[in-house]
């Protein structure tokens, strides 16, 4: 089964936690939908309120919006887009915002009068209108190849290039203003009459108050251009009749300076409408005031009449590149057709939604006078929500990250504690399964499950240690139990032989004596093995030359042995000579015990820079391969050695002594299958 550690598991949980922000995306979409739906509803209510308010507060709204205009004339209506910033009157049109739209051109297709109808005339002009909350702006660019200026000593205003402006004042009176070409600079303008020849003061018929002819209220700038001249002017919207906001512009071209004869008159209306004025989409001041109060609430608001004329407009801030809601948009059209609840956007398609438009009709006496249009940017609506969501998401993110960090730290702490506990537990038991210590310090003072585990392991080790001690005491106990009866037998036999010396040669007495001797040796071996470990713990190893030791040892070894020649250079190891003697006694005795009848026991020596290895081989029965690992276990004998006593303790004792010397003891069958080789590998002492 592949390993799936706690760290990996925690990582997986953390990845799961990271999916929470992903889930918040769909939650955010739900919020967006809800917010936009609510906004649409609010806009609808607001539009309804505005429509109702307009009907309630504007006494003349019916007259205003339902003013019957000549449908033919309507084609020549002039639009005056709303501007936020005032335009500098300097004759340059560069500061006109793009919202003001493209200039409308008038040429000789709109001639009023031509001195020489057959002659080709160049006279033409372009006109742009714009309105602010107080003024109507006009930019007039005239093409005229010959400029004739008014002379200072001329009273007449028609002996020069001139612009004629006609409009209805706020009292419905027709007013005419002539703007002669005098010089480059401030525009001169004068009230005049239908002759357009002299300035005429205005006299109030009721009060008798006189308005001087040059106090037209028109401000402007006259500038000569390469193709003619340009005029930039403005006049108060209060001066224009709100019920009939109409103006007409006419350009009078005077080419013949000596005679001051007119060359052509080009107007903003064709000659067939000579007595008419161009309708201007001038905002109604009262309606505009109502709308302006809401301009900070919505992106844009309009009031259209049923013909599509814009009567009021307000916007929160000018936006470039955004197409205004046209009168002929489906929303406006539906509203005018009676559908009162239609948002011009599918809120479900938030990603494609660029604006949220609500239209509500203005209905008076079952007659649809116009429509209130409220447009809002979804981004603006969602911005505050988004800020809140971003704030929540940020807090959530911080919490999640903190949580993850804490979780990681906690997991790593747990893993580290478990690892330490595992490592310490592992070290409590040596490679042979002997318990080296029973106290686990890792996590022992923690009041949690790992602490419980640590304490449980300590308890288990203590119990196991007790059991091991019991097992280790068994040979000693056995020896104690055997010693008394054995001593009884031994002393009885001795007393018997003292009493009857003739029995000394008795065969059975000899066998009894031999048996007692064997039992005595068995108990001795048992004791030796049992007490060896405790005795060795107190012994200190000293540095000795294993070569010299083996040379001396083998020279005194009683049994026959083949000794291979080896390098006599000293090889220093840490050891105890009497224990090493015991070790080699066991290995050589073992080799001889299991040697075949005519077999040989040999010893050889291998060394390198790090270690030395002594190999003892014999000819004889092989080790059963399945029990190789148990060779050195106590009381285990894998081979029969005939009739001699064999408790399986010799190799166990050899292993204990090898461990004491940190030497590696191993046994294996020879490759050629002729016998067994035991080797012991010592680390060289530096």
């Amino acid at each position: 089964m592949p390993r799936f550690g706690i760290k990996a598991q925690v990582m997986l949980v953390c990845v799961g936690l990271l999916s929470i922000p992903l889930l918040s995306i769909s939650y955010w979409q739900e919020i967006q939908h809800t917010a936009l739906t609510a906004q649409a509803r609010i806009q609808e209510i607001e539009a309804k309120a505005i429509a109702t308010s307009l009907l309630a507060t504007q006494q003349n709204i019916g007259e205003l919006l339902a003013a019957d205009e000549d449908s033919e004339l309507e084609k020549y209506s002039l639009s005056a887009p709303t501007i936020k910033q005032p335009i500098r009157l300097d004759g340059n049109f560069g500061d006109w915002p793009t919202l003001a739209g493209q200039p409308r051109r008038f040429n000789l297709n709109y001639p009023i009068w031509l001195a020489e109808p057959d002659k080709q005339h160049e006279t033409a002009f372009s006109l742009r209108l714009a309105q602010s909350s107080q003024h109507l702006y006009a930019a007039i660019d005239v093409r005229d190849d010959t400029l004739v200026y008014r002379k200072p000593n001329h009273l007449r205003l028609d002996y020069n290039e001139q612009i004629q402006l006609t409009y209805h004042d706020n009292k419905g009176q027709l007013r005419r203003i002539v703007m002669p070409a005098e010089q480059e600079g401030s525009l001169a303008s004068y009230f005049t009459d239908g002759q357009w020849q002299y300035g005429r003061d205005l006299v109030n018929a009721k009060t008798g108050a006189v308005t001087l002819s040059h106090r037209t209220g028109v401000q402007g700038f006259w500038r000569k251009t390469r193709s003619g001249y340009a005029v930039e002017l403005r006049m108060s919207t209060d001066a224009i009749n709100p019920l009939q906001p109409q103006i007409r512009i006419a350009i009078v071209d005077v080419d013949d300076n000596p005679t001051f004869g007119l060359s052509a008159i080009v107007a903003s209306l064709p000659k067939s409408f000579e007595d008419k004025l161009n309708p201007v989409g001038l905002h109604a001041r009262e309606l505009q005031r109502v709308i302006d109060q809401l301009k900070h609430t919505y992106a844009r608001l309009w009031v259209y009449d049923s013909r599509g004329r814009e009567w009021a407009f307000a916007e929160r801030e000018p936006q470039s590149g955004v197409t205004p809601t046209a009168f002929d948009s489906p929303c406006v059209r539906d509203a005018l057709q009676g559908n009162q609840e239609r948002a011009d956007a599918n809120i479900d398609e938030i990603n494609q939604l660029t604006r949220l438009v609500v239209c509500y009709p203005i209905i008076q006496d079952q007659k649809r006078l116009g429509v209130v249009v409220i447009e809002e940017s979804p981004q603006h609506v969602l911005k505050k929500e988004e800020e809140r969501v971003v704030d929540i998401a940020a807090r959530l993110g911080v919490v999640i990250i903190t949580l993850l960090a804490v979780l990681f730290a906690y997991a790593f702490t747990l893993v580290r504690r478990i690892s330490r506990l595992s490592e310490e537990s592992r070290k409590c038991v040596d490679a042979d399964g002997r318990i080296e210590r029973t106290k686990i310090n890792s996590s022992k003072n923690f009041p949690d499950e790992i602490g419980d585990l640590s304490r449980t392991i300590s308890t288990l080790l203590e119990k196991q240690q007790s059991y091991m001690n019991f097992l280790e005491r068994i040979p000693q106990t056995l020896r104690h139990e055997i010693a008394n009866p054995l001593n009884k037998l031994r002393t009885s036999l001795e007393v018997l032989l003292d009493d009857k010396p003739e029995l000394a040669d008795n065969n059975y007495i000899r066998k009894i004596d031999s048996g007692i001797e064997q039992i005595g040796r068995i108990t001795l071996h048992l004791t030796e093995a049992a007490s060896l470990e405790s005795a060795m713990r107190e012994e200190q190893l000293v540095r000795l030359d294993i070569i010299q030791f083996l040379s001396g040892y083998l020279s005194n070894y009683a049994l026959e042995i083949d000794i291979c020649e080896w390098d006599q250079t000293p090889a220093w190891v840490l050891g105890d000579s009497s224990r090493l003697e015991q070790l080699f006694d066991k290995l050589l005795d073992n080799a001889h015990s299991f040697c075949a009848k005519d077999g040989r026991v040999s010893i050889r020596f291998e060394r390198d820079t790090q270690k030395v290895k002594v190999i003892i081989e014999n000819d004889g029965p092989l080790l059963p391969t399945e029990n190789t690992n148990e060779l050195f276990s106590p009381m285990v004998s894998t081979r029969s050695s005939g009739s001699s006593i064999h408790l399986g303790l010799g190799l166990h004792i050899a292993k204990l002594i090898g461990d004491q010397h940190k030497a590696k003891l191993s046994g294996a069958n020879r490759r050629d299958g002729s016998g067994v080789a035991f080797s012991i590998e010592f680390l060289l002492s530096s």
Binding site: Q476, R479, H480, A483, N484, L486, N487, K488, L489, R490, T491, S492, E494, V495, D498, D499, I516, G520, R521, L524, T527, E528, S531, S534, A535, E539, F549, L550, G552, Y553, L554, S555, N556, Y557, A558, S577, S578, R579, L580, E581, Q582, F584, D585
Partner: protein, 235 residues
Amino acid sequence: MDYQIVIVEDDIDQQQNYADSLQRKGFVTHCFDNVSDGLAGIIEKKPDLVLLDVVLGDDPDGGFTICRKLLDHGDNIPIIFLTDRSDEIDQVFGLRLGAWDYQTKPISLALLAERIKSLIRIHKARNTQAHQTSPSLTEIQGTELILDRKKSYASWHGQTVPLTLSEFRLLDAIIQSGPEGVEYDQLCESTMQRMVTNGTINSHIKNIRKKFNALGPEFHSIRNKPGYGYRWETS
């Protein structure tokens, strides 16, 4: 000879065997099988030597109790522990209580008799020649070691080395063998014990070295002769 031997052994059969064997060899024996009787008997009989089993009846340390009380009583009777308890800690404890020897079962009665004779002889020698310079003193050449073979007494750098009889015998055998050394078999015989192996000899030698080293300068004169035995080196 008529040496008085008190035997305190709870196993009547073994007690009888010890007594029979020792009586045949001319000793007078008095046998007891518990602590109170044994202690009373020893005080009453004032024997030349006491053989004590450690475990007496239900008292696992009965022999030690008797030994400690005799020591408290001021008696300097040679005591030999004859016991099945072979742990080193028991041997050390017994010897520290003042026992002259500690023998683990099974024992040889013949060797036990010889050991008893030796200890009685040593005891008498110590008593009669106390405070006198013993003519049996032998100073080992090249060392600060002095042996008194009659008293089985050894001193090193002027200090007594607390050797048991077996240890003294081993030391003496090694010293007498000189640099040539003495074989394990001879050393086994010199201990006058049964069931002695090379490992037993090695244990004794380690104990001897420990006792010498406890007195001061490092003691290196007993050298192992691997596979053979031990030798004496004076340098």
